[in-house]
């Protein structure tokens, strides 16, 4: 089995930038990823990426991909790393199908995944009325009555997308008041289509083949609301379960130092999966670049015999 200099997990902004830097350093590396773009793919409008005043997440992803395609990079798309194990100085990365890849270093750039409600029956309705991405699925709910769960900016972003499409939006927030930016809340309320429920918890998702309703507990009173769609926007969690041995924050974020090193020598972290401040596309890109350069240094300061199995 060939041994790579590095395996980059994930191809969002951090993984793509790490790949570009690694390619320019002529490293022998492999990218394992579920998709190209990561969370950027789901972003609506991006207005804070230097050099571009405004473009959508999918448009920015397209540019990232074009840049990546300039190099001859070994990318396996549609796969998920399940486990990273260190054996002496060599890392073995196992993907879901059971295949194993070996490398001298690993860059964890797996980003974050939407936080789930954690209620019974949730899994059953994913893609059947229950959605975690308004950019993707909001257009499927024309003239429908829907619910959005959450009270932050991402929940309001989903609500504002739905205002243009759906008939009525029930915004279900567990906090006493919405924490999203006032401007967004104002816009949502001005539409006349949005009803806000504060101090509200989701109890149950109802349906048959598809979602038909949501049961909430609002201020201690149970209420059943008939909806065709439920958009869950309650934040995200780091996708870091494949590296159980690295030191993590309580919430699962991988601790990194300013050189993107983790607590395990040879494993690096980049982007929103890590403890780095600001989960922003541009920050993730910078972190990806740093991680690849740190890996380059690591390999150059080790002898080939260090990686003998």
């Amino acid at each position: 089995m060939s041994m790579y200099d590095s395996i980059i997990l994930g191809a969002g902004p951090a993984g793509i930038t790490a790949s570009i830097y690694a390619a320019r350093k002529k490293m022998n590396f492999l990218v394992l990823t579920e998709n190209i773009g990561g969370q950027t793919l789901w972003s609506a409008d991006v207005e804070n990426y230097t050099g571009y005043q405004m473009l959508t997440g999918p448009e920015l992803t397209e540019r990232f991909k074009d840049h990546l395609d300039n190099y001859d990079i070994n990318v396996i798309e549609g796969v998920k790393a399940e486990k990273v194990e260190k054996k002496r100085n060599v890392f073995e990365v196992t993907i879901k199908s059971g295949e194993v890849y070996k490398a001298k270093t690993v860059i964890v750039a797996t980003g974050r995944i939407p936080r789930r409600l954690g209620i019974k029956g949730e899994g059953k309705y994913v893609g059947k009325g229950l959605a975690y991405c308004a950019t993707c699925d909001a257009p499927l709910y024309a003239d429908a009555e829907v619910a959005v769960v959450g009270g932050g900016n991402s929940a309001l972003d989903a609500t504002l997308q739905l205002v243009k499409i759906a008939k009525k939006i029930h915004l279900i927030d567990r906090a006493p008041s919405l924490i999203a930016d006032d401007l967004m809340v104002e816009k949502a309320l001005q539409s006349g289509k949005v009803t806000v429920y504060n101090n509200a918890q989701v109890k149950e998702i109802q349906g048959d083949q598809f979602v038909s309703g949501i049961v909430i507990d609002a201020d201690g009173k149970e209420k059943k609301i008939p909806v065709e769609g439920i958009f869950v926007e309650i934040g995200s969690i780091p996708a870091s379960q494949m590296v159980p041995d690295v030191k993590k924050e309580k919430n699962g974020e991988v601790f990194v130092d300013c050189s993107c090193r983790t607590s395990v020598s040879g494993i690096y972290g980049a982007g929103a999966v890590t403890t780095v401040i600001a989960k922003q596309i541009i920050v993730a890109c910078g972190e990806g670049a740093k991680a690849a350069l740190s890996v380059f240094d690591y390999i150059n300061t080790h002898k080939d015999s260090d990686f003998e199995e």
């Binding site: 773009g37 999918p58 798309e77 549609g78 893609g127 059947k128 959605a131 950019t135 993707c136 499927l140």
Partner: protein, 77 residues
């Protein structure tokens, strides 16, 4: 030649990736914009049990999501 229909929306990122992939492979296909053709949308959601896009119909088989391996298999790519 197999009949290929892609059910999609104009904004969904995976729909774009899927169409780009089919273009690269020179596969011709019909596009159903589910935001406009609501009856066809309803029908495909009922038949597949999924309210999501993209959905690709290859002859008489549906593929929910951009599943490259399954699409390759059905199209013999």
């Amino acid at each position: 030649m197999k009949k290929v229909v892609v059910y999609s929306t104009p904004t969904c990122p995976f729909c774009k990736n899927l169409k780009k992939y089919l273009d690269e492979k020179e596969v011709s296909y019909e596009v159903v914009d589910v935001t406009k053709e609501r009856d066809k949308a309803k029908e495909v959601f009922q038949k597949t049990g999924h309210r999501s896009v993209p959905i690709t119909l290859i002859d008489d088989e549906y593929v929910v999501g951009f599943k490259k391996d399954r699409i390759n298999e059905l199209l013999g790519l």
